[in-house]
Symmetry: C2
Subunit: 439 residues, 2 copies
Amino acid sequence: MTAHHEQHDIATWTTDVLVIGAGFAGLEVARALGRAGIPAIIVDRRNHHLFQPLLYQVATASLSATDVAEPVRQILRRHRSVQVILGEVEQVDATLCRARLGGGELIAYRHLVLAPGSGHSYFGHDDWAAHAPGLKSIEDARSIRSRLLVAFERAERCTDPDEKRRLLTFAIIGAGPTGVELAGSISELGRRTLAREFRTIDPAAIRILLIEAGPRILAGFPDDMAAYASDSLECRGVEIRTGTPVSDIGPEHVELDDESLDVGLIIWAAGVRPSPLAAQVAETDRGGRAIVDARLMVPGLDNVFVLGDAAACPDAEGNPLPGLAQVAQQQGRHLGPALVAHIRDGHPLPEFRYRSRGNTAIIARHAAIFHHGRLKLRGWIAWAGWALIHVYLLVGFQHRVLVSAQWLSRYLTGYRGARVIDEEVAEKAPLRAGPSSDA
Amino acid sequence: MTAHHEQHDIATWTTDVLVIGAGFAGLEVARALGRAGIPAIIVDRRNHHLFQPLLYQVATASLSATDVAEPVRQILRRHRSVQVILGEVEQVDATLCRARLGGGELIAYRHLVLAPGSGHSYFGHDDWAAHAPGLKSIEDARSIRSRLLVAFERAERCTDPDEKRRLLTFAIIGAGPTGVELAGSISELGRRTLAREFRTIDPAAIRILLIEAGPRILAGFPDDMAAYASDSLECRGVEIRTGTPVSDIGPEHVELDDESLDVGLIIWAAGVRPSPLAAQVAETDRGGRAIVDARLMVPGLDNVFVLGDAAACPDAEGNPLPGLAQVAQQQGRHLGPALVAHIRDGHPLPEFRYRSRGNTAIIARHAAIFHHGRLKLRGWIAWAGWALIHVYLLVGFQHRVLVSAQWLSRYLTGYRGARVIDEEVAEKAPLRAGPSSDA
């Protein structure tokens, strides 16, 4: 009992500001606190900050995992007042101003900045997760990459035409920007890069299905831009099924309302779910996001702030802002200095106003859409706009020039060098022979 | 019975040359066959060729895994007569000229080039493998990298001084070039790169032990050069224990003859064991390597050749050549064109003569040894010689310039960006709290 008692009562660490999550939002806040020399602790389950907008390029073998992941300690090494802890926050007690880590340690804080991000939502079908990985972490990206490449390798070896057809059928569930990017990128990988490397695979036999429950793809974009994206994808051999909810997912098949598809790989890009920590400190909206006011503050708790994907923060019209990297980063850049002024001089906290830098979806090389207010761009020019935004967002990455150069060169040449198949995946999905193995 | 029967009698593929293993030796042979348009199949368990000499830099977070792994298909894509198969050869029947894959497929060949490489040897203690990973594959390197970084992360969080000391004690078993390179690189990582990033770790508390059963380190080098390496390592805080066999290894400890060490990480660099396929086609020496003649041919089988780590090939004095990348590569470059001339025009196969380009061991930045005949180099100049050899060996890597530039910049600046901790490892070795978790 004593040990248990101790564990709950004596804080292992005490800090002015506890930041949970080293994503775009949390990192910006930690940086501002560090610059001001305010004691802070930042906790993340990973030792790295992840540049999520380029994660799909890891999943499709254009970039290496370490290209889009930078150690949190590396980023914050000059900020001596900030301590980085690798760990998982299991519980937050906003009344006692304490957070508990998985190891049992308690962190007592004066201010809490909660920016834990989001995971996947399988809409109540958590058993689908094993068959249809999503794309949120380095492990997710590596898993998709390995499964994708193994499907091609198995197809190359396969002598049964039906099995070969199945292996070369890829289903992407959800046609938001991530789904569209994955579909376009897999199409290029299969028809351009890999086509010349296999001997028994006909590139025309590769089938990519983009399955969306809603009435059209890219719901966040205007109609005409989504139509352009649809056409571009179809030109690249992607079959689009809108208004088509998925009713079941197995290891090698996807059930639609009226059809059962045998597939070699399923990727989930349909839904996200904010971290459950959001609900521990605030009321949540229907999507599980913590309701905060325009100062990013939890109503009734003037020392708790929620940022990024886990927050339902109102825009000027009172509608919640979308879960985008640029929203999270701007929130962090807003709150960081504001919190410093508040802690040091008691300044009141100003309201956050989001300034969109435009929305982009990449379809393939030479094809992208960029939408910013009344500005609508397509094709090359949209792709260039996207590249600019991403180089700008890559601030903080020591090797941003190198990564950009690498990525650009691979993007232009179609070279996909980052094609390591992980052993675990290769073993889980052993290569099978043709007909004889069915016996 | 029918299916079984079929599986054993009907070859799935028939080829002029079957190459097993896409390492330095196998790849060179496949390239020569491809250039000549001779039908060949190359089989490897991995989809990538691995640049093993730089693998320790992946394990110590200097290079990314994909920097040292290039897809085999990519390398051979222009050689239309060569088919690449991802798979594991389980059995070779040299009498019937057939090889069987794990999936059951049979490959019938006219000539066999066996270059399957080697794995670790734990000298009969295979249970040590789980606690002391070796360094042969991408997975090995990632596993060591994750365990190493997790040890530092746990130490940073740890409030128990004894546990902290244990976590920061690293044991490397085996003081050949790989052991020396790992010890030097871990010392630099801990004392140089990570030192400025942690808040509670005293760099002087980091303990690195290099444990060797033999009388001195670097048995393959002259005495004075090994002595120089010893001094250099000791300057960098590495403790060297020669004449010290290991009697037991557990998850957190190493037993020596006279001492039990509590350690945070153990790395195995002590012994290798050739692939068991070697013994299926030839008599083997004490080390399990296939005995071949100077033409790399198995005595009595004039269509079977064994190359690389799995072969005991005699040098001019009749002593077996060492298991080095440059030996394997030269054997491949020798046999490839010779086999083409033999198959096409019935030319006799010439004998292989190894021409050493010199042996190098890297201790740290500014410190290396290079030995070639009577030439002995130390320090910067040796390091430069090593870099030249490796750039030369990197031929075939499309991005060799980029990798060299990256590696050079990271080597010079001490930046270790490739510091992704894999989730599996983080979960297997969960972060623990200080004293309270011992309850």
